[in-house]
Every structure is written in structure tokens, then in C-alpha cells.
């Protein structure tokens, strides 16, 4: 895949616009995971991804394949992330705390986050199903509670405990979440 990405990047650099769509599809997931590991909110992730790809299109003429294209792309994303976090760190207290902490972390954390997949695998089917509904289908707490015949409080506590489990799992594997 890495070779494919490099080839696509060279094609885009040479002016092949169709290759840009393929490049986007080939890199979007990894870049999203990278940005998600450092951003302060899901909305910030979307914003940073958007401006990163626009910047990529306009800067790809300067891309020199000394490292990998993804590393170059992540460099652009990191720049936009820092900008977004600095802008939002002037926000209300809780959001400010999150942004300030994220700024510190992005300065000293490794480029790529610890993989989450292994920890997700270890969850129970019920827990995984709840995460699927909450994060992939983006079902609100109230809707989840009604669909499961439970209270909103039950759903909140369960999600909270699942994330606690994931946090511990990541900490054991050297992650920071």
C-alpha cells in the first residue's frame, strides 16, 4: 500500500487529478486516526482533515519523496491541528483544558497513536456492539437507551466503563489514552 501511495502521490504531483481521489481514499483512514489521536473533538478532526487535503493539493508540487508521503501529509495535518488547538484553547474552561492538554501531548507524543484494535478485540460482544452503535452509527444516548430498554444513565455508565477498560488496556500496551 505504501508503494501505491507513493505512486499516486507522484501522479498527483504530475497533475493527475484523478489520482488525487485515489490518494485520498488510500490515506484518509490512517490520517483520520492520526488526527483523532490528537484532536479535541470529532468536529475538529473533520475540520483538520478538510484543510489538510486542500493544503496537500496546493503544496504537492513541493513534495519530495525523501520520506513517505503519509509522513509528509501528517506533517501538514499536525500544523493545522496545532493551529486549531491554539485557536480553541481560548475557549470556555473545560474545552480550554482539553485543548491545552492536547497541545502539550502533541508536542511530546510520538507521531502515531498506540493501536486501539487489539484492545477493542478484547471487549465483550455486548460492549463492542454498544460502541458500534454509539460511534459508528452515532446514536444518541437517549435513542440508545430507548432501543435497549434501559435508562440514559445506564447507557452512560456502560460507555464510561467500556472506555475505562480501553484506557487501562492502552496504558498496559504503552499508550496514553
Amino acid at each position: 500500500m505504501s508503494g501505491d501511495v507513493e505512486t499516486l502521490a507522484r501522479r498527483v504531483k504530475a497533475g493527475d487529478r484523478q489520482a488525487f481521489a485515489e490518494l485520498y481514499a488510500a490515506t484518509q483512514r490512517e490520517l483520520r486516526i492520526f488526527v483523532s489521536a490528537h484532536a479535541a473533538s470529532p468536529e475538529m478532526v473533520d475540520e483538520v482533515l478538510q484543510v489538510t487535503y486542500v493544503s496537500c493539493w496546493y503544496s504537492i508540487g513541493h513534495y519530495e519523496p525523501r520520506g513517505t508521503f503519509l509522513a509528509w501529509l501528517k506533517g501538514i495535518a499536525r500544523h493545522h491541528l496545532l493551529k486549531a488547538l491554539r485557536e480553541q484553547s481560548r475557549s470556555v474552561p473545560l474545552d480550554r483544558l482539553i485543548c491545552e492538554e492536547a497541545l502539550v501531548r502533541i508536542e511530546r507524543a510520538p507521531e502515531d497513536p498506540e493501536p486501539l484494535e487489539e484492545c477493542l478485540r478484547r471487549l465483550s460482544p455486548a460492549a463492542r456492539d454498544l460502541l458500534e452503535r454509539r460511534y459508528r452509527a452515532r446514536e444518541p444516548l437517549v435513542a440508545l437507551a430507548q432501543a435497549l430498554g434501559r435508562t440514559k444513565s445506564w447507557v452512560a455508565v456502560t460507555l464510561f466503563r467500556i472506555r475505562e477498560t480501553l484506557r487501562r488496556c492502552l496504558a498496559e500496551s504503552g499508550g496514553t489514552a
Partner: protein
């Protein structure tokens, strides 16, 4: 502090439904307890990561980007090739097919202008009037639940969570809590009784309810300025003037001219059923479990306390959120989308149902431009914004009627930026004439917008021929200044930049604007697209808010 209470606070924060009191409680907790603060931050990080890990790959975004960067015939080929590769789940419907949005935009401008001029209740300190909210008559019911449709798991690019290892035991921490009801916020008590309704006064701005007749025994639930009481279930229709509706809790709604509200009720939480028109609302914090609900023919917006704008017609509903967070539910399939502050979403047939950033202002600096050809170059200029300017050279000045603008095909500066569809942006260009002599014959540039159009055509036939717009006249003043079209003092007022050029884009997302030279030498150091700046900015004004 029970774990249930903490979980509910954190979860509500992540969902954006925290009340002011809950926010204060959570803030106090994370401020006073470092361990708890780390836990809280860990949950936020994981929440964002899980969103990212579970997100579907949206290849349609690539199409949007491609469309924005090339406007020639090749684009059509690219579009078709890429679209063929994409799954059929996306409909490339264009906003340009929706004249209602344009109409609503005008309506919203009026509503917004009035809204911005009025007082804004602080979400932290609800107005004292809130205590006088009329009785609801019965305990508050459970909130209406929007049933979401789970997206197809087989959609292209979607990646399910990894399968669970059969041998791995489920962690005890993730087991289901037993005392499910613990930690629920207390339900609000019924409010004290309200004053009997005042007799209705003449309200020339608003059409009276056609039928049924008004039962005088019902209590007033709101006031329509200048003082007419609105009863439970009443219909409101504005004609040529806007209307202002105030609820006792401080919630304020601006109804744009031509708005029809079929019913307003408060019995189970405020509910506004709109048929058409525009609303700008500042919604005071609502009781827990009783969001204020706006219902339109296409969608439903549940609001706990926020500032929003809503535009409705027979084809779609557009929601803009200025403060807080609103859940918009599309009625046709019950899909929901959370719209955060600064974002909007549209519920209409054939459109993407997702939240997108509201863009009212676009400020373009020279370094953002991509220079093509040889006429333009980036130069240092200590008097320009940021010390940089785009300089055009080598363009021959032609007399009127003999302009040959084919140079614009090869020599231009291209800008890419995010802007909204069907919104009128006033265009301002800051420049300076730099010719040593005869400056007024060396002071014109043009703009093209491949992803949109100028609302009023250029008064220069050669420029109007390809849909561009001229910006002319820097030579009539010394130094740097803003021009919104033809600023030559000899130009008749109806064609001058007394009314600046307006540009409108046909679809939301990345837009392209091209700057080309009509005369030279001259320098440009900023282009400003604004929904609000309708008069010439001061020369040193550096865009919105500066």
C-alpha cells in the same frame, strides 16, 4: 460523587448536552481533583479516537476537492470517472437546484440582523423571567426520542470494529450496571401558575389565526411583540414585517417576513411547528428532558439551549447553530445529525445530511494563491498586509471595447477556500496602482469564480462575456485601498462599486477563485468575501473583526 453521576456528567459533556449547572459541577470536579481530571481527559481522548476509528471513509470528499480545482472540460471526465468508482449512496445533488435556499438566505439576513441587534440571554444566568414560565399541568414526560437509522455496514470504505477473540474474556468493568436509575438528574418541578392572558392587541405585522377561534380560557404561553399574547396551539403568520416572539423563560424568536408557524405549544416542552419561512432563535436553557423542538415538514430540531437560525420551505430545512448544539432529525428516515456551534445542516431530498461549517467570511492573502503563468509574482511590499503582495506586470492596456482578456486563461492566481452554497458574499479586493505615471489606466484586475457566479453581471462587456467581474480604479487614490467593483469616479452610480460585487457558489465546500490582470502594473494584497461587509472597508481594515 457516585460513579454513575460522574459517568453521566462526562457522557453528557461528550454528547454536548451538559446543562450550565452540570458544566459547573464537572468543572469544579476536574479543577479540584487531579486524578479525576486525568480520567476526564482520558475519556475525551478516547471519545475522539473512537469517533475517528469508526468513521466511514467518505470518498465523496475527494470528488468535492477535485471539482474545486479544475473547471475545464476535463473536470467532467474526472467527475464521471471518480463518481463511477464511488458507491451509489451519494447523490451529487447541487444546491443550485434549490431556489428556496436563496430565498431563505435573504430572509435569514433580515432575521440575523435583527437578532444581532437584540439582547442575548446568558446561558449561564437564565433570565429572571424564567421563573414565571406557565405551568405545564403535569409532570414532564420523557423526551421524544429520534430513532436513528444505522448506516449500512457494508458501505464501501466502512470498517467494522475488529472481531472479538473467542478466547478473550469480557472485562468485568464493561459489564452492565445494576442500578440503572442512579445518577439521573432530578426532574423539574412544575412551575407556578401564570397570569391570565391579556386581551389581544392589534398586531399589524402578524396575520391573526384564521381558525379556530381563540379560547380565552387558555393561558398565554408567549408574547408576540409589541404585546400580543400567544396561546397554546396558536398559529402565527408574518406578512411583510418580521415578528418577535418572547417566551417567559427568556427564549426569543425572530420570525422573518413570510413565515408561517402552524402551532406553538409548551405543554410538553416548547414545540414550534413551522410550515415555511425563517427563524432566528436564542433559546434559554430548557428543563432537563424537555428540549425545545422545532418541527418542519422535513426535519425536527431538538434544542436544549442555544442560538440558531432555521430556514424552511417546501423543499428543505436548513439549520444553523451559532451557540450550543442541536440535534436535527430528518423525518423521512429518522436519521439524526448533531449540529455544533458554527455548523449548519440541511434536511432535503437528495442532499447530504451532515453538519458543515458555517462560513460567513473568507479572507485571502497573497501567499494562499497559486500563481500560474508569468504575469503574476509574489513580491515583498512593506506597505502591504503581511509585507507581501501579488504584482501583475506585462499586461498591455487596451482602450474600452478592444480588451483582449485571453491572457486570463494562462496567467492567473488561483485561490482555494471553503465557502457555502447559495449565500451572497460581497467581494472586496485591496490593491494599489504602482505605475509611475497615468495610474488610472493601469489599475484594473478581474475575478472569475469557476465554482460559482457573480450575482450581478459585470458592466464591462468583455468581462461579462465569461461571467467574470472587474475591479478597477486604484489609480484614483494614493496608496492601498479596497475596491468592490468599478471604483472609477466617472462610472455611473448604478454600475459603480457603491454596491459591491456579489458572488454566490453553487455547492458547499471548497471553492475556487481566480484573479487575472486586465491592466498593469499594479499590486493586490487581499481579497475579502463577506456576507456582512456591504460598504467599502477602511483602507487598513484587515478583514473580519480586525
Amino acid at each position: 460523587m457516585t460513579e454513575e453521576r460522574l459517568a453521566l456528567l462526562v457522557e453528557s459533556f461528550l454528547e454536548g448536552t451538559l446543562t450550565a449547572e452540570e458544566r459547573a459541577e464537572l468543572e469544579a470536579l476536574v479543577r479540584s481533583d487531579t486524578v479525576l481530571r486525568e480520567r476526564f481527559l482520558g475519556h475525551v481522548r478516547l471519545h475522539v479516537r473512537l469517533h475517528g476509528e469508526c468513521a466511514r471513509v467518505d470518498e465523496a470528499k475527494a470528488v468535492e476537492l477535485i471539482l474545486s480545482v479544475d473547471s475545464d472540460a476535463r473536470r467532467v471526465k474526472v467527475w464521471r470517472a471518480v463518481e463511477a468508482r464511488l458507491r451509489e449512496r451519494r447523490s451529487p445533488a447541487s444546491f443550485s437546484a434549490w431556489p428556496w435556499v436563496a430565498a431563505a438566505a435573504g430572509v435569514l439576513l433580515v432575521a440575523l440582523a435583527v437578532a444581532l441587534a437584540g439582547p442575548r440571554p446568558s446561558p449561564e444566568k437564565p433570565p429572571a423571567a424564567r421563573a414565571a414560565e406557565p405551568p405545564v399541568g403535569e409532570p414532564p414526560p420523557e423526551p421524544r426520542v429520534a430513532e436513528e437509522t444505522t448506516p449500512s455496514r457494508s458501505a464501501a470504505g466502512e470498517r467494522p470494529l475488529p472481531p472479538r477473540r473467542p478466547e478473550a474474556a469480557a472485562p468485568a468493568e464493561a459489564e452492565l450496571p445494576k442500578k440503572a436509575e442512579e445518577g439521573l438528574p432530578p426532574k423539574p418541578a412544575a412551575a407556578p401558575g401564570a397570569e391570565p392572558p391579556r386581551p389581544p392587541e392589534a398586531a399589524p405585522k402578524v396575520a391573526p389565526p384564521p381558525s379556530p377561534s381563540r379560547p380565552e380560557s387558555r393561558a398565554a404561553i408567549a408574547t408576540l411583540e409589541p404585546g400580543r399574547d400567544i396561546l397554546e396551539g396558536e398559529r402565527i403568520e408574518t406578512t411583510y414585517e418580521p415578528g418577535i416572539l418572547r417566551f417567559p423563560d427568556g427564549t426569543r424568536m425572530e420570525l422573518a417576513p413570510g413565515t408561517l408557524v402552524r402551532r406553538v405549544t409548551v405543554e410538553r416542552g416548547k414545540r414550534v411547528e413551522m410550515e415555511r419561512g425563517g427563524v432566528a432563535a436564542e433559546v434559554a436553557r430548557q428543563p432537563a428532558g424537555q428540549p425545545m423542538v422545532f418541527v418542519t415538514p422535513q426535519a425536527e430540531a431538538a434544542v436544549l439551549g442555544t442560538t440558531l437560525r432555521l430556514a424552511v420551505d417546501g423543499k428543505g430545512t436548513r439549520l444553523e447553530v451559532l451557540e450550543g448544539r442541536v440535534r436535527l432529525t430528518r423525518l423521512s428516515d429518522r436519521k439524526s445529525v448533531d449540529v455544533a456551534a458554527g455548523f449548519f445542516a440541511v434536511a432535503a431530498a437528495g442532499s447530504d445530511f451532515a453538519a458543515s461549517r458555517i462560513v460567513d467570511e473568507v479572507f485571502l492573502a497573497p501567499a494562499q494563491g497559486r500563481i500560474r503563468g508569468s504575469e503574476w509574482r509574489l513580491v515583498r511590499d512593506p506597505l502591504a498586509f503581511g509585507g507581501q503582495a501579488l504584482e501583475a506586470r506585462g499586461v498591455k492596456t487596451a482602450p474600452p471595447g478592444q480588451m483582449d482578456l485571453r491572457n486570463r486563461l494562462a496567467d492567473f492566481v488561483e485561490f482555494a477556500f471553503i465557502a457555502e452554497a447559495n449565500k451572497d458574499y460581497h467581494v472586496w479586493v485591496r490593491g494599489a496602482a504602482t505605475a509611475a505615471a497615468d495610474k488610472t489606466r493601469h489599475d484594473a484586475v478581474g475575478l472569475e469564480v469557476p465554482t460559482g457566479r457573480f450575482v450581478r453581471p459585470s458592466s464591462w462587456p468583455e468581462v461579462a462575456a465569461f461571467g467574470g467581474h472587474e475591479f478597477n480604479g486604484w489609480g484614483h487614490r494614493a496608496g492601498w485601498w479596497w475596491i468592490g467593483g468599478d471604483a472609477d469616479p466617472d462610472t455611473p452610480a448604478d454600475r459603480s462599486d457603491a454596491v459591491p460585487a456579489l458572488v454566490r457558489f453553487s455547492r458547499h465546500g471548497v471553492q475556487v477563485l481566480r484573479l487575472f490582470a486586465i491592466e498593469s502594473p499594479l499590486r493586490i494584497d487581499a481579497i475579502w468575501l463577506s456576507t456582512t461587509q456591504k460598504t467599502r472597508p477602511e483602507p487598513e481594515r484587515r478583514g473580519p473583526g480586525r
